[in-house]
């Protein structure tokens, strides 16, 4: 049958969203969805190299450059979730319920352990932009700033083991809690700030550059995601009875 190759970030796969959406899409469109889940950076690179048909990523600034460079076309918002800053129960830095920027400043000022993904992922890019926004610089060589270069779950795990803070998307946090069977020695410290929104988009790989990509199928997939049906499906997706993604389809 027809097959569509999607390159996406680990969060959509790790949370089980794609396992949930793929059969629905296949049923509607008669297209089998295959996906490669990796870091956002690598997913974009696969698109650039014409090795997939469609992308679902969450790194708005890179995505814009990507479209400008002509690697992708027809970017559409699909959904969002939000980021939170988490830390140990004891909250040694005392940032709980503080504003986003004062929390970050406190961590940097008092040199509390902060785990960063440091992997160029959407989450990492968001984190770096927050440091820039709040402290005018990105921590790098500091002893307290631990860059894992790994996925979100591994980074949360590191924060737990080292009793430090980290920035995560809410979906992965729920997943992490589920994995640890409730006994999470971590709490949400900062949430709800406007700059903590995490936007996912679907981008079609540019057929003009990559003649072999199945643009028609990619279009069908994107159309379905932003359709009523697709949006409802995303909204209905639940992990541990919590909604992870909020559909917000709109053409860019």
């Amino acid at each position: 049958g027809k097959q569509l190759l999607l390159a996406t970030t680990t969060s959509t796969d790790n949370t089980g969203l794609l396992d949930y959406l793929a059969p629905m899409f296949t049923k509607v469109a008669g297209i089998e969805l295959k996906w490669v889940a990796t870091g956002t950076g690598k997913a974009l690179k696969l698109g650039e190299n014409c090795d997939c048909d469609v992308l679902m990523v969450h790194a708005p600034s890179s995505e814009k450059n990507y479209l400008e460079a002509g690697f992708g076309v027809n970017r559409r918002h699909v959904m969002f979730n939000d980021f939170v800053i988490i830390g140990p129960d004891s909250d040694p830095a005392g940032i709980s319920k503080q504003g986003l920027c004062s929390a970050l400043k406190k961590i940097a000022g008092e040199k509390y352990i902060f785990a960063s993904r440091g992997d160029n992922s959407g989450t990492n890019k968001k984190e770096i932009s927050l440091w820039q926004q709040c402290t005018d610089q990105t921590p790098e060589l500091q002893q307290w700033y631990l860059q894992t270069g790994q996925g979100m779950l591994a980074t949360i795990n590191l924060a737990v083991e080292r009793k430090g803070y980290t920035l995560t998307d809410r979906g992965t946090l729920i997943k992490f809690a589920a994995n640890s069977k409730g006994s999470v020695p971590l709490k949400i410290m900062v949430e709800g700030d406007q700059s903590l929104l995490n936007q996912y988009s679907v981008i079609e790989v540019n057929k003009a550059r990559c003649p072999k990509v199945k643009n028609d199928l990619a279009r069908q997939f994107g159309d379905w995601l932003v359709s009523m049906e697709g949006q409802k499906a995303i909204g209905d997706f639940r992990l541990l009875d919590k909604q992870l993604f909020i559909p917000n389809a709109s053409a860019e």
Partner: protein, 229 residues
């Protein structure tokens, strides 16, 4: 700690209850590693034999290069193979990206140096009188090859076992070239890596045990064979 025990239980469940995803990954692993091992043994044993048997200028250099290739990181091999078979690469037309064949190509590159280096050492450690004896009985170069290989069979068996262990456990190539696509190119090791990155440690352990059981089966068969020869 408890996830290890959990993993043990889960491994049994997966195997006994015939979990479809697990069996799909087992199947992919078996398929891809049999291809890569067959090719690398067919190529590697003769090459290793020549390297161990012949003496030619620059032999030490070749050995050093082969030994160095034992330290080829799998992700590196994955990247290089990807460069060649990606749509924009020179072999892009063949459509090998995200296929088991693509993985097998990478795994051959991984296994070949092991087979060559260990075969060469085994052949070198054969008694120098063996060669004399074979020549003295009128063996042709091909017959000398076949008999030397047979005399060195214990060494070759361990070469094959080591290479198989390497191929079965590698992740980098399978991930990069295969893409870990469910039902298609997801092998046991990419599944372990994925489950682990999802925090499903028990599933990771379970899949690791599945792989070990596979390896144990192979080795049990080989050791029965070894007892007979």
């Amino acid at each position: 700690m408890e996830f290890i025990l959990e993993g043990l239980v889960k491994a049994c469940q997966l195997l006994v209850q015939g979990d479809r995803e697990t069996y799909s990954a087992i199947f992919a692993t078996v398929k891809v590693s049999s291809i890569s091992m067959t090719v690398s043994l067919l190529l590697g044993i003769p090459l290793g034999y020549l390297l161990g048997y012949l003496s030619f200028p620059g032999k030490k250099g070749v050995r050093t290069v082969v030994d160095t290739m034992l330290a080829l990181p799998t992700v590196f091999i994955g990247l290089v193979v990807y460069a060649f078979i990606s749509s924009r690469g020179p072999l892009g037309e063949a459509g090998l990206l995200f296929t088991l064949t693509g993985i097998a190509i990478g795994q051959c590159i991984l296994a070949l140096p092991i087979v060559i280096a260990l075969t060469a050492t085994s052949v070198e450690s054969l008694d120098r009188v063996l060669r004399l004896t074979l020549k003295s009985l009128g063996a042709s170069p091909l017959q000398i090859f076949m008999t030397s290989i047979w005399e060195a069979r214990m060494g070759l068996l361990i070469a094959a076992t080591t290479a198989t262990g390497r191929v079965l456990t590698e992740v980098g190539i399978s991930m990069m070239v295969g893409g870990n696509i469910k039902w298609h190119t997801r092998t046991i090791t990419t599944a372990i890596a994925m489950e682990t990155s999802k925090g499903q440690f028990a599933t990771g352990i379970a899949l690791g045990l599945v792989l070990l059981i596979m390896a144990f089966t192979i080795n049990l068969a080989l050791s029965t064979l070894r007892r007979r020869v």
